[in-house]
């Protein structure tokens, strides 16, 4: 008995030493794998040291009382939710997941998350924002899992946006009033959906370009790029930009850099405005018209089509199929908290299509009678993953269980070279819904997107229906 305790204590001591070494290593290699460490202020350094010391002390305490879980040097309480998992590698990787990079714009690459580098935790500077939860210690154990899983994501913005509305003085001249209006709309979620958000952003850029006058001593292409970048940065601060917005902005930037030096300002501006209009018309709107046409070939008489969310191209597809005189009905499945399906319901009712509206919890009940599942995507990644409204993965899984084909509508301008295999590494948090504001349960974890890895029969694009494995080929062809 006593020897066993000794062994335990010995183990714990070794563990503590390892943690110390790890801390030293971290101090020597501050850069880690992903990005340069931020300079720590004196107070922050002290806070970090104290945290380490506390962890060590805690560790010693634990080993004395021969606790069941002496393996986790940093966050003893975080072991609660991890359960009886004593594998140091696994718990280390969990810790890394719960560490918090400072910005969402640069989430940690997926592969680095899984390398089990336990030094990363100590390496991470203290959280900047006080609104995001400081994970362990004070939280009830049941919420720890979800909280720590998404703690690397920046907290949702709260309207009104006092912070972004007063940009730093040296750049304030470049921030256009319409940008501020747009930011407010984004952060209040009054403009949602990747197409609408992208178009709203491009309209805003049109106003910026319309009002833009290049300074006499500067080259227009360079100066305008700077102005647009600054505005885009402010926009992304109001709400993380969607992939559609990112791709549209890249297109715009590329166009701006091609402005010739000797060209009249007004001519360049006109060309730019025309290019933006064409982008909206062709790449966004016309694409979804073609998608509607391509997708409607899969609608047959007597079909029961299940849809989730409220995608522009899916709406157009239904209208097109109705135009073709096809006899079908639609089941709209809706999920809280956004209840976007209500918009779809209203739209389909206006068209005069027979609609059934059900909650997410009746999904498996209605799936039996479905012949096709159809929803829109926010983005498609080069590994074939579909980024879509949270809940769509569940719909896809249930459809797969009932052997129902799933088609996803997505314009190719939303295709991205990124690779993502889960919805955790990169996502967006939603603000707490009002009805929970007064609830004693203080934690809310709501994410915006799902990543659907498999179960999708095809993607309806303006180039026709393609399998998810062909996204990389289409990206290559588009270049």
């Amino acid at each position: 008995m006593s020897t066993e305790e000794e062994k335990e204590a010995e183990k714990a001591r070794k563990k503590a030493e390892k943690a110390k070494r790890a801390a030293e290593f971290a101090a020597k290699n501050p850069n880690g794998f992903t990005k340069p460490k931020e300079k720590l202020s004196k107070a922050e350094r002290r806070a970090k040291q104290e945290a380490q010391r506390a962890a060590k002390a805690n560790e010693a305490d634990k080993s004395k009382s021969s606790s069941k879980n002496p393996k986790n040097p940093k966050n003893p309480s975080s072991n609660v939710d991890i359960g009886s998992n004593n594998d140091p590698q696994a718990s280390a990787s969990r810790q890394v997941l719960s560490s918090s990079p400072q910005t969402l714009a640069l989430p940690p690459p997926i592969l680095n998350n899984s390398n089990g580098n336990s030094n990363r935790k100590q390496n991470t500077p203290p959280r900047k924002s006080s609104t995001s939860s400081n994970v362990p210690f004070s939280q009830p154990p049941s919420t720890l899992n979800a909280q720590s899983l998404f703690s690397h994501l920046s907290p949702p913005m709260k309207p009104p946006l006092t912070k972004t509305l007063s940009p730093p003085p040296q750049t304030s001249k470049s921030i256009h009033p319409s940008t501020v209006t747009l930011c407010n709309a984004y952060s209040r979620f009054s403009i949602t959906g990747s197409n609408s958000r992208c178009i709203a952003m491009l309209e805003c850029f049109k106003k910026i370009i319309g009002d833009y006058e290049p300074p006499k001593d500067k080259v227009m292409s360079m100066d305008l790029t700077r102005v647009l970048k600054e505005n885009f940065k402010v926009i992304t601060e109001s709400r993380v930009h969607s992939i559609s917005m990112g791709n549209a902005f890249t297109f715009l930037k590329n166009f701006v850099t091609k402005i010739k030096h000797n060209e009249e300002t007004s001519v360049s501006k006109d060309n730019l405005l025309l290019a933006i209009d064409q982008f909206i018309e062709k790449t966004v709107q016309f694409a979804s018209d073609v998608i509607a046409k391509e997708g409607s070939t899969k609608v047959k008489n007597g079909d029961v089509i299940l849809t989730y969310g409220c995608s522009t191209s899916v709406k157009k597809l239904f209208a097109k199929a109705l135009d073709q005189g096809k006899d079908f009905r639609v089941i709209v499945v809706d999920g809280r908290p956004e209840l976007e399906g209500k918009k779809m319901l209203g739209y389909l009712q206006e068209l005069g299509i027979h609609v059934t509206y059900v909650g997410y919890n009746s999904l498996s009940y209605v799936m039996k009678e479905v012949s096709l599942v159809l929803y829109g995507a926010a983005a498609l990644l080069s590994n074939g993953s579909v980024v879509c409204r949270v809940g769509a993965n569940g719909v896809t899984l249930v459809a797969g269980a009932y052997r129902k084909p799933v088609l996803v509508c997505c314009e190719t301008y939303k295709f991205s070279k990124k690779v993502q295999i889960d919805a955790i590494t990169h996502n967006e948090l939603t603000p707490k819904p009002d009805e929970f504001k007064s609830s004693p349960c203080s934690d809310w974890v709501g994410v915006k997107y799902d990543v659907v890895g498999e179960g999708v029969a095809g993607i309806v694009t303006e180039f026709g229906i393609v399998p998810t494995t062909s996204v990389a080929v289409i990206l290559r062809e588009m270049e």
Binding site: P405, G458, F463, G464, I465, V466, P467, S470, V473, E477
Partner: protein, 336 residues
Amino acid sequence: MSSLTELSSPFIEIVLKDLLSFMSSPSHSDVALPVAAMKVMLNVIKRSKAITMTGLLQELETAKEGMLGLAASKDICGFRSHIPLQSGCELFMRYVTRSFYEMSSDFELCIKEVLLRGETFAGMSLTARQSIAEHGCEFIREGQVILTHGYSRVVASLLKMAAEKQKKNFSVIVLEGRPEGGGARAAAVYSEANIPVTVVLDSAMGYAMEKADLVIVGAEGVVENGGVVNKIGTYALGITAKALNTPFYVAAESYKFARLYPLNQADLPRVETGELRFADTTLPGKLEEIDVKKDLITVDNCVIDYTPANYITLLFTDLGVLTPSAISDELIRLYA
């Protein structure tokens, strides 16, 4: 629309006569229907008096519709679908438009070039079988048992090459392939090439799979998601092969790559064929038909089914040995 009606009856008559003569001439007995269709289309171009590309494409489109109509009504496809005919026509037209865009605006010159290229294209389609056999026979090893379904010219040339040229010893199990019984025909062909063959009923699929080292089937159409449309029973064969971890290979010419994206069996184009008759063949003496012409009895004789990509290990094509996902990549490159 008006030009379509102008072109109609006498034009189509010549086209169809052309097609039928290609199909019936003894020298062309080994020519696949899509290749015959391409030759017909070449003749259309030769005869054409069109002065613009749009006009020429219109004529080709009419010819295609005419041939598809004949295939649907006159059953020149046998118990097969019109999918290969359609894909052959569409690929040829794509070929013509591509040549046109690459060429100068001189229409006369362009037609000459299109004819030249068209001949090579049709020729390429003929040699396709040879190159598929060369790619595919490398996958056959000494002493293996190969399971195949019905009769396919591509599979036959592949197996014959492995046996006759490469002198490999292997045996074949062939499924009967109801209703046209291509399996028996295949067995005759293989035994002539000194390949030991066993013929089994279609329903012995699971029983035979246990003995098989690999499965090779042909295809009527290779569809955009990497799956194949083939003779009824291929889907079941694919599922059985997957369940028993047996590699499932498909041999198909690239002119069978079709612009189709079936989501499931119900999403396949419907191919109408005659109703089958059923008899108990175990009874001695005269075959007595079992009456199925009663109320409540429906006979559903589907001739094709769709095998999704995830049941297919590899496809042997004249473009090389491809994974199912590479098929859609090829098609995107062709049509995008």
